[in-house]
Amino acid sequence: MSASAATAVAGRARRVLPGFGLSTGLTVAWLSAVVLVPLSTLALRASTLSWAQAWAVVASPRALASYRLSFGASLAGAAVNVVFGVLVAWVLARYRFPGRSLVDAVVDLPFALPTAVSGIALTAVYARNGWLGAVLEPLGVKATFSPLGVTLALTFIGLPFVIRTVQPVLEDLDPELEEAAATLGAGRWATFRRVILPALVPAAVTGFALAFARGLGEYGSVVFISGNMPLRTEIAPLLIMTRLEQYDYAGAAAIACVLLAASFALLLGINRLQAWTRARTGKE
């Protein structure tokens, strides 16, 4: 058997486990069935519109405002999550304290909760008569029915991503690196900034990308807190919903295509950034 296997792969780089053809075929078939085919019907739907019609839909002021809000709030939420996610990951990875496992479990709640439930809960807390809203409103900060509310919801939804990508990296970080930095004369801040932080960048970028992508597609938790005012607090996924409810499938598909293209471009860019940081630090 081993002899026949050896001749089968002769000429190619030998692997201990065969099956490149089979596994690649399955991968492509599966990706097509689950991702590519549904997405291509989107493009087909949109193509029933003429260029002029499509342009009128995707470049309408209402659509443009929704893109701005969706991308802006997702980026802002992901950015906030990078800062606080690294902080929470640091605390979870470095310290042992009573209630640590509880905190660890709470981090995953935004994953587990139905998004509509999170949306209602957030709205209740930040509304004028809610706990936080009652404090913020007199200060002139309007957290519900505003772009700020959308950002809050997307921050909440994206919370676990950065923490869960950065935490294992921090836990695996060799304590000798910090000791080396200390013997070389680096203080605590210099050690953190020059030694630890750069080691976390690839993981933080991954977490950022995941949180951002999740925020872009998020619908359930946003619609309650945003108030859905056209041109002001209407997110792009909601605009698509609205079109669908008006039986304007082609228009919905056109907007969806714009979202799709933009997020694909952004994620591709982030992937390249990751590849670049990986190449620099090298994987051993």
């Binding site: 000798e176 690196l177 000791e179 090298g282």
Partner: protein
């Protein structure tokens, strides 16, 4: 800078790793801390670096107590077994790290980095990242990085432990030459006797948290202060002896009585006689002071031959190491009976306990 260590003790979770260690390291010497794993040598090094704090005792650098100074304030160069290079920095950035955190001007950093990379012979690799280097090159980068601020003390924790045998050989010689050039007081930890002997001026033998002996490689090998040192530094035959007055008897072979190292004034009944394999003579016929043994196996070792023999009353197995030419002249065959006479023997009183703890700790 000289180092004085007095009364140093350290425990981890009530587990003593250093017990009352006293040691003096003169300025400019290269000293090896040698011992089996778990003997406390790495902990001692980490205390010198300021990465651990002792439970008792003090460390002085050139007479000044440094106990209150943190690792970052000691200006001690430290080299780790697994290099601990910063992976996101180039070779030049790694080497210049200590200068950059001290906010030295850029031109000075560049000049010093060039100088250090020339010293460790890595001039062409400035812009490489650590993962693009071989193990030996990485360790040289780590050494250059540790030397950047011209520390007065250099500490190395098993610096060649992660490298393969050939590279290790090369780097040992290279480290010795580098030390002869720089004359920085250096302490390096190893569990490899050959490495310690080849590189260091003096060897500090440690066992179970204590210093067993300090001396030049020749001293510790020729005049071991304790059974532990005798056993740790290479193979040795151990014979059970009986003490009678000021003589020790192994069967009908006569040796001197145990030295004072076995405990002053104690009257002991039994002693151990240690004979190194190369200190046993092989004879075809019986000579005065010899005993009979039967050849079991011959193992060629290149320039020498190891002869394994059995000798009733002299332990289960006796080892003799012969010069190849001498071995050929004797023409030994397995199964033959020969006579062995010790040229030199060291006698230590047998330990009090019934179990011989040294056997377990010696490698």
């Amino acid at each position: 800078m000289s180092i004085q260590i007095t009364g140093l003790s350290k425990s981890f979770d009530a587990n003593p790793v250093l017990r009352d260690v006293n040691l003096e390291i003169p300025e400019g010497e290269l000293v090896a801390l040698l011992g089996p794993s778990g003997c406390g040598k790495t902990t001692l090094l980490r205390i010198l670096a300021g990465l651990e704090s002792p439970d008792a005792g003090e460390v002085r650098h050139a007479g000044e107590d440094v106990g209150a100074r943190s690792a970052r304030e000691r200006n001690v160069g430290l080299v780790f077994q697994h290099y601990a290079l910063f992976r996101h920095m180039t070779v030049a950035e790694n080497v210049g790290f200590a200068l950059r955190v001290r906010k030295r001007p850029r031109a000075e950093v560049t000049a010093r980095v060039d100088e250090l990379l020339a010293l460790v012979q890595l001039d062409g690799l400035r812009e490489r990242y650590p993962h693009q280097l071989s193990g030996g090159q990485r360790q040289r980068v780590a050494l250059a990085r540790a030397l950047a601020t011209a520390p007065r003390i250099l500490l190395l924790d098993e610096p060649f432990g992660a490298l393969d045998a050939r590279v290790r050989q090369e780097l040992r010689r290279w480290l010795r030459r580098l030390h002869d050039e720089l004359h920085v007081t250096s302490v390096f930890v190893t569990h490899d006797q050959e490495e310690a002997f080849e590189v260091s001026d003096r060897v500090v033998l440690m066992n179970a948290g204590r210093v067993e002996q300090v001396g030049t490689p020749a001293q510790v090998f020729e005049e071991p202060a304790s059974p532990f040192v005798m056993r740790f530094l290479g193979a040795v035959n151990v014979f059970q002896g009986r003490v009678d007055g000021n003589r020790t008897w192994v069967n009908d072979l006569e040796f001197a009585a145990p030295g004072t190292s076995g405990g002053a004034g104690a009257v002991r009944k039994s002693a151990h006689v240690y004979v190194r394999p190369h200190e046993l003579e092989v004879h075809r016929a019986a000579v005065p002071g010899s005993f009979e043994a039967r050849v079991v196996r011959l193992v060629p070792l290149g320039a020498a031959v190891r002869v394994e023999l059995s000798a009733p009353g002299f332990g289960k197995a006796v080892e003799v190491e012969l010069d190849v030419r001498k071995g050929e002249a004797l023409g030994l065959q397995p199964g033959e009976a020969v006579h062995l006479s010790p040229r030199r023997a060291r006698v230590f009183a047998a330990p009090d306990g019934e179990a011989d703890s040294l056997t377990a700790s010696a490698l």
